[in-house]
C-alpha cells in the first residue's frame, strides 16, 4: 500500500529488535525469526468462474514471487461454496484465508469464525486510507475490522446508447447530483424506447434483491426498523417503489413480463440488444467482450426517487479464519491482496471496480478509449451505496421477500398485499 507500511513488516521488526536486544531476549526472538523463515503453505478457499480463477492464479503467483516463505494452496470451490466452507469449518479442516461475500461478515463474526485484524493493522501500521471507506466498513462489526474488500462494485443502469440515439431520447445523466434524471423522466424515456411488436423493451425489472432494493432506498424505504425488531417493507416508501416497478411491467408495459425475460435469459438480454436499460453490477469485462461493436453502451445511476439517488451492492472480500494456525502468514497474504500490486492485477483481469481509490483513478480501471464512457459513475457512487441490511436473519428474510414479490411481478397480487404478507413472515424470524 503506502511506502511507509511496505517498509516495516513484522519480520523486519523482529530482526531489528533481535539485533538490538539483550542476550536472554535475543534467544527468544531469534527462535521466532527462524520459525518465520520456514516455508509455510497457507490454504485459501475461493469460488470463481474461469475469469476469476485466472485472476486467482495470477495474484497467487505474484504473492509467492513477492516473498520467499509463504506458498498458497488454492482450494477452488466452483459451486455450493458455503456448503463446502461451512462443512470444512464445522469439521475442523480450517482454511487460513477465506473469500467471503460482504453480507457474510455479520453471521461469520457472530459464530466466532473470523480473526479480528485490528492488532495486525496496528502492529504493521497498515494504511487503510486508500480503501473506499464504504467498502471497508462492510467488513467491520462493532468497530472491529475483520476483512478487506477485494472489489467495490455497485449496481447501476447499463444503457444502449445507439438505441437512445436512434429513438431521439436524451441520454440519462451520469452526474449523481443531477436530479432531473428521476422516476418521471425515467418512465418517459422507457416509454419512448419500447417497441413491443419487435420485442424491444425500455427496461428490465429483475426480481433479485438488489435490483429492487435500489428503488426502495431511493424512495426512502428500509428493510428493518432501526432496532431490527420489525421489517418495514410494507410502509408507504417501499410499497410505492414496488408499485412503480410493477407498473413498468403491467401498466406501462415498458419491461418484459418477468417469465418472458427469464425465458430469454434475464442476465443476457441487455447484451443481446433486447432491453435498452438494465440493472447490472460492473461486469465491464464481460460487456466489452460480449457486446463488442454491436452497439454503443454506457452507464448511469438509477433515477432519483423521493429520497434522491441510490445504489446497491458491495462486493466480496477476504478474511482470516479464527482457527487458522498460520495467522501471520495469512495476514501477509491479506495485506498483499489489499496492496496496489495485488489490486491492479485483480482489477485488470476482472474488469471490476477496485477497492483502492488510487487504482480506481488509474488507467488500469478506467481503460481510456473503451466503454463505458462514464465509468466514474461506479466510483462516484460509493457514497450512495445502500448495502444489504446487516442482520443475522437477512439471508432468510430476503429470500422470503424475493419469493413473495414474485406474486406482484407476475400480477397475481397488489403491492400492499404482498408487502404485508412478506412482512408478517419476516417478523416471525425476528
Amino acid at each position: 500500500m503506502s511506502a511507509s507500511t511496505k517498509g516495516l513488516s513484522r519480520r523486519d521488526f523482529l530482526r531489528s529488535s533481535a539485533a538490538a536486544s539483550a542476550v536472554p531476549v535475543l534467544g527468544q526472538v531469534a527462535t521466532t525469526v527462524v520459525h518465520a523463515q520456514e516455508p509455510v503453505t497457507i490454504r485459501l478457499t475461493a469460488w470463481g468462474n474461469p475469469t476469476e480463477y485466472e485472476a486467482r492464479l495470477a495474484t497467487n503467483a505474484l504473492f509467492e514471487e513477492s516473498q520467499d516463505n509463504i506458498k498458497v494452496e488454492f482450494i477452488h470451490i466452483p459451486d455450493s461454496y458455503s456448503t463446502k466452507l461451512q462443512t470444512m469449518l464445522a469439521g475442523g479442516d480450517y482454511p487460513d484465508v477465506m473469500y467471503i461475500g460482504n453480507g457474510w461478515t455479520v453471521p461469520f463474526v457472530s459464530r466466532g469464525q473470523l480473526e479480528p485484524l485490528d492488532s495486525y493493522i496496528e502492529r504493521d501500521m497498515f494504511d487503510t486510507d486508500d480503501i473506499f471507506q464504504a467498502n471497508l466498513d462492510l467488513y467491520q462489526v462493532d468497530g472491529v475490522q475483520y476483512g478487506f474488500p477485494l472489489d467495490a462494485p455497485n449496481q447501476q443502469i447499463f444503457y444502449n446508447v445507439s438505441w437512445f440515439e436512434e429513438k431521439g431520447v436524451p441520454r440519462p445523466s451520469s452526474d449523481w447530483e443531477d436530479e432531473s434524471w428521476n422516476w418521471d423522466t425515467f418512465l418517459e424515456a422507457a416509454l419512448a424506447l419500447t417497441d413491443r411488436d419487435n420485442n424491444l423493451w425500455g427496461f428490465q425489472v429483475k426480481n433479485g434483491f438488489r435490483p429492487w432494493w435500489i428503488w426502495v432506498t431511493a424512495n426512502g424505504g428500509s428493510f428493518y426498523n432501526e432496532d431490527f425488531t420489525a421489517c418495514v417493507l410494507n410502509e408507504p416508501a417501499a410499497v410505492e417503489a414496488f408499485e412503480f416497478l410493477a407498473s413498468l411491467i403491467h401498466e406501462h408495459q415498458v419491461a418484459p413480463p418477468i417469465d418472458v425475460a427469464s425465458e430469454m435469459g434475464a442476465w443476457n438480454i441487455f447484451e443481446a440488444g433486447v432491453v435498452a436499460m438494465d440493472t447490472f453490477w460492473p461486469a465491464m469485462g464481460r460487456m466489452r467482450n460480449n457486446i463488442g461493436d454491436k452497439f454503443a453502451w454506457d452507464v448511469a445511476p438509477h433515477p432519483a426517487g423521493a429520497a434522491g439517488k441510490s445504489t446497491a451492492g458491495g462486493g466480496s472480500g477476504q478474511a482470516i479464519s479464527a482457527f487458522s494456525e498460520q495467522k501471520d502468514s495469512a495476514w501477509e497474504f491479506l495485506r498483499f491482496m489489499a496492496s496496489t500490486a495485488g489490486v491492479e492485477v485483480w482489477t485488470d483481469i476482472m474488469g471490476i471496480v477496485p477497492p483502492l481509490q488510487s487504482v480506481a483513478a488509474s488507467d488500469v480501471f478506467l481503460k481510456p478509449g473503451e466503454p463505458p464512457e462514464h465509468i466514474s459513475v461506479f466510483t462516484d457512487g460509493a457514497p450512495y451505496l445502500r448495502p444489504d441490511p446487516r442482520h443475522a436473519t437477512f439471508a432468510q428474510a430476503s429470500s422470503i421477500a424475493v419469493s413473495e414479490l414474485d406474486r406482484l411481478w407476475i400480477g397475481q397480487a397488489g403491492a400492499q398485499e404482498v408487502a404485508d404478507s412478506l412482512v408478517a413472515q419476516i417478523n416471525d424470524l425476528l
Partner: protein, 292 residues
C-alpha cells in the same frame, strides 16, 4: 420402447386395418414423446455451438449462425478435462466394483442365511435410505478428516466396499429371494459351503440384477456432486460433475456456451453405455418397478 412397439405386429402377425391404425397411433405417440425428451439435448447442443453474444437471441435460433465449433476445443483447453475424465472413470470403476461385491454379499446374507436379528437389522439398513446425505455430512467429514482421507479419493471409493448404498442391498436381496431355495439345497448336498453357494449359484443366476445394479450405481456415481465437492480440494483431482461447475460464476455470469460444450463431451460415455446396455436398462425399470 420403440423396439418393443416394432415387435408387436411380428408377434401378433395380424395385418388388419385397425391393427395398422393402432400401430400408427403408437408410433405417433412415441415420436411425440421422443421429440419432447430430445428438446433439452438439442438445446444443449445448439448452445454449445453458439457464439457468446448469441446466447440470448430472441426468438431463439435452433441452428446457430455462425456455428462455433471452437467452443469444444476452447472448453477443453481452459480446463483439465482429460484429467477429470480419467478421475471420474477411476472413481466410478472402483466404486461400482466395490458396491457390487459388498452389496451382493450382504444381500445374500439377508436373503438366504438365518441369523438372530436379521429382520431387525434389515429394517435398520432400509432406514438409512431415508437419511438425506446432508444430515450425515459433517459427522462423516470429521471421520474422514481424522483418517487423513480429505483431498484423496478414499471417501469416494472406500465406503462402497462396505455396502454403503442400502438401496442396492435391498434390490439384490429382493432378486435373490426369487431364486428357488432348492438350488441351495442341492448344492449343499454336494458339499458346497455358504460362500460357495453365493459364488457359484447365486451370483451366476443374478447376472441381470447385478448388471442393473452396476448400471444404476455407475450412473449415480458419474453424476455425484456433494461428496466430490466436500472431499476434493485440488482442481486436478476433480471429477466431471464438479469440474463442470467451474463454468458457473456466482456473481460474474456463467459461460453457458463452454459449459454446454463440456456437457456434450461428458454425456458421450453415458450415451454409449445406454446404447450398448439398453436391454439391461429396460430390465432395470422392470425389476425395480415390479419387485422393488
Amino acid at each position: 420402447m420403440a423396439e418393443r412397439a416394432a415387435r408387436l405386429p411380428a408377434q401378433g402377425g395380424d395385418t388388419q386395418w385397425s391393427e395398422q391404425a393402432k400401430r400408427l397411433s403408437i408410433y405417433v405417440v412415441l415420436l411425440a414423446g421422443a421429440v419432447i425428451v430430445f428438446i433439452p439435448f438439442a438445446w444443449t447442443l445448439s448452445t454449445a455451438l453458439k457464439a457468446p453474444d448469441r446466447l440470448a437471441e430472441f426468438p431463439p435460433r435452433w441452428i446457430p449462425d455462425p456455428i462455433v465449433w471452437d467452443n469444444f476445443p476452447e472448453a477443453e483447453t481452459i480446463k483439465p478435462f482429460g484429467r477429470w475424465f480419467l478421475n471420474t472413470l477411476f472413481v466410478v470403476g472402483v466404486a461400482t466394483t466395490g458396491t457390487i461385491m459388498s452389496a451382493s454379499l450382504v444381500a445374500y446374507s439377508f436373503a438366504r442365511l438365518r441369523w438372530p436379528g436379521r429382520n431387525l437389522l434389515f429394517l435398520v439398513l432400509l432406514a438409512t435410505m431415508m437419511l438425506p446425505d446432508q444430515v450425515t455430512l459433517i459427522p462423516t467429514f470429521v471421520l474422514f478428516r481424522h483418517l487423513g482421507w480429505v483431498n484423496t479419493y478414499l471417501p469416494l471409493i472406500a465406503p462402497p466396499f462396505f455396502a454403503r448404498n442400502a438401496f442396492f442391498v435391498f434390490l439384490l436381496r429382493q432378486f435373490f429371494m426369487t431364486i428357488p431355495l432348492d438350488l441351495d439345497d442341492a448344492a449343499r448336498m454336494d458339499g458346497a459351503s455358504y460362500f460357495q453357494i453365493y459364488l457359484r449359484i447365486i451370483l451366476p443366476m443374478s447376472k441381470p440384477a447385478l448388471a442393473v445394479a452396476a448400471i444404476m450405481f455407475s450412473q449415480f456415481k458419474w453424476k455425484e456432486f456433494l461428496a466430490p465437492l466436500i472431499y476434493l480440494n485440488k482442481q486436478e483431482m476433480f471429477t466431471v460433475s464438479l469440474g463442470l461447475r467451474t463454468f458457473i460464476g456466482e456473481s460474474w455470469g456463467t459461460e453457458w456456451h463452454l459449459m454446454m460444450a463440456a456437457n456434450i463431451i461428458f454425456m458421450i460415455p453415458l450415451i454409449l453405455i445406454f446404447f450398448f446396455a439398453q436391454k439391461y436398462f429396460i430390465q432395470g425399470v422392470v425389476i425395480t418397478g415390479v419387485k422393488g
